[in-house]
Symmetry: C2
Subunit: 363 residues, 2 copies
């Protein structure tokens, strides 16, 4: 396993698993061998990724009975209907409950494949090979799987842990710039919620990351996964602290839903959502104006938007935020910042600060 | 809670829950009060059950925000598409992740509602009010939830435990005779796999059960749930011993699938499957001919079929059994009997005994 830059263990008791981060590892048989239980492997991927990485992945698994299921590419296909195609492929291939599903692709493929693994015959093994920066730093840790419903994003799903994650930095070379920046939004998020030192590192190394320097990328992926794992290990099912990972997401989901899935990339919406959370935190008297500016600057440096679309009025924002999963018994809970690297989940904020944050952007 | 005949605790650590068994309990607010967490309750039921029991159930929950979702009745509606109607009802009603879903109905409603609860926003609370004998003695314990796929029964699902089960014997008065007998098949199964004394009790009390004597029914339900809980508590995720609960099910599923869902009731197929397992166990030299006869007699006394449909040849049986979930890496595993009250899961049987068992019935 000489190509591996680094390894991280996610510690969840009997559901613990390793994440390997490096260049070229997805095509190396050694990584799979000890994590594939039965003899049947289904690689789930999409039409964009298949021509790039499917053959080499299948070759690395040549000792097994390998089949593949190629889905259309895009968040709009993250539905129950498309999920059903995975089940059909498994049943047609007579896959038993000792099968392994491999998700080869970005977040959509990871979420759907993970949910298929969680629910095919009530649960089979699952390996993730995330091919976007966003999925490498986000879906690699946390076990969230699922599909969208017409009426809301990620409304159907399960918590389900992979057996293994292979985050290959070489797959990022085929990622377009907008997708790379979208991944950097989540990377910045980890600095903001619990790791001020990492935030400072990002300020110094953003250009190297944008230039896809493999060493800088591997470091950022590892540190992001470590941050997320620290939060998740303490709170696997999102009852309390885990909600910190939603910084920027309540605003962000409202943007994604309000504009229609796919118009804004997830990371772009989260980036803007983090700026809004920072602005609101400043109005609460928690975050200094100077820290707020550092946040805007780093997000801009990562080539991400810092203001929401004009089309979304503050009334529409409130409406969209009210169906968000973070609403507990009618009270809106938000993740806000005390300082860079220090955050909290709260429903105790001044409502006028929320409306002021929203209305400064509206048309 | 004076109406309660008896209570049983299913001990699964932090997912433990009580089963109350008695007459009239489903309409008693006291049972729900301590098990409903949030303020929103969705009662999922079907068109047959709704006119009989929905109003009284909703009334018992009058302190909460109660909505209902009425699905068509029948195994053919246990699909992803119909499941999606539950999600839509929840999203239209703006149900949060602190909601409670109540399954009011038989096994299909229980399985679908449980799966909806397992997967709506990655998991909300779930209460079962089973209204058929089969669901009272089977789905009340074990946490199996899911839907069918066109290519196989229960192929999509999750393990998910309810917070509370209310098994009301008064709801059995509206059950037709064939459904009652179908439930008795599973009751007999518990005696066969681990409880010889209960099997003897059933030989003496079958007439009282068929006459719907509430005391006999409550006893049989409690003892059945206790048997199942003993097996499940030892093996929650079905890696080993839990498979004993599948006695008669591999043959039975083949009958159900081969004849088309709904032609044979589940319990009827299982009853015949148990006779076939008994026959095969006798051929293996394990079960005495006398015990075999006692099994046939009790199943007949419960007004259940003891031979499979003529339309299914032994070749078709083998074909149908090969996609069953109990196949591990290509080897067929069956539950067979050592004696009444003593069973084992094995792939070590003489193939000619299987083919002889199958071919004695074929047309």
């Amino acid at each position: 396993m000489s190509k591996c830059e680094c390894k991280l263990d996610v510690d969840l008791g009997e559901r613990s698993y390793p994440i390997y981060i490096g260049a070229g590892i997805y095509a190396d048989a050694d990584y799979y061998r000890e994590h594939v239980g039965g003899s049947q492997v289904m690689i789930v991927t999409n039409e964009t990724i298949a021509p790039l990485y499917l053959d080499e992945t299948a070759e690395a698994l040549s000792g097994y009975e390998v089949k593949s299921c190629v889905l259309p590419d895009g968040e709009e296909y993250k539905t129950l209907d498309v999920l059903n195609r995975i089940y059909t492929a498994l049943l047609k291939g007579r896959f038993s409950r000792r099968s392994t599903l491999i998700a080869l692709g970005g977040g959509v493929i990871g979420d759907m494949t993970g949910f298929a693994a969680a629910t095919y015959q009530r649960g089979v093994d699952f390996i993730q090979v995330p091919t976007t920066l966003l999925s490498q730093v986000d879906s690699s840790v946390g076990g969230k799987t699922g599909v969208n419903h017409l009426m809301g994003k990620n409304m159907i799903g399960a918590f389900y842990q992979p057996r293994l994650v292979l985050a290959d930095t070489s797959t990022l070379n085929t990622l377009d710039d907008r997708q790379l920046s979208s991944g950097l939004a989540e990377v910045i998020k980890y600095g903001l919620i619990i790791d001020a030192e990492f935030f400072t590192w990002l300020e110094k190394n953003m250009d190297a990351l944008l230039a896809r320097d493999p060493v800088a990328l591997a470091y950022a992926i590892q540190r992001s996964c470590r941050c997320k794992a620290d939060v998740v290990e303490a709170d696997e099912k999102e009852s309390g602290q885990r909600a910190l990972l939603n910084l920027g997401h309540t605003f962000g989901h409202a943007i994604e839903t309000g504009m229609g899935y796919g118009e804004w990339l997830h990371g772009e919406a989260v980036a803007t959502g983090m700026c809004m959370a920072a602005d609101m935190s400043r109005r609460q008297g928690w975050l200094s104006a100077q820290s707020c500016d550092r946040i805007y600057r780093l997000i801009e440096q990562a080539r991400l938007p810092i203001v929401p679309p004009k089309a979304l009025t503050s009334e529409r924002f409130i409406e969209l935020m009210a169906v968000d999963k973070k609403v507990v018994d009618g009270r809106l809970r938000l993740v806000l910042l005390k300082e860079i690297g220090s955050s909290l989940v709260t429903d105790e904020f001044e409502m006028h600060n929320l409306t002021e944050t929203l209305s400064q952007y509206g048309s």
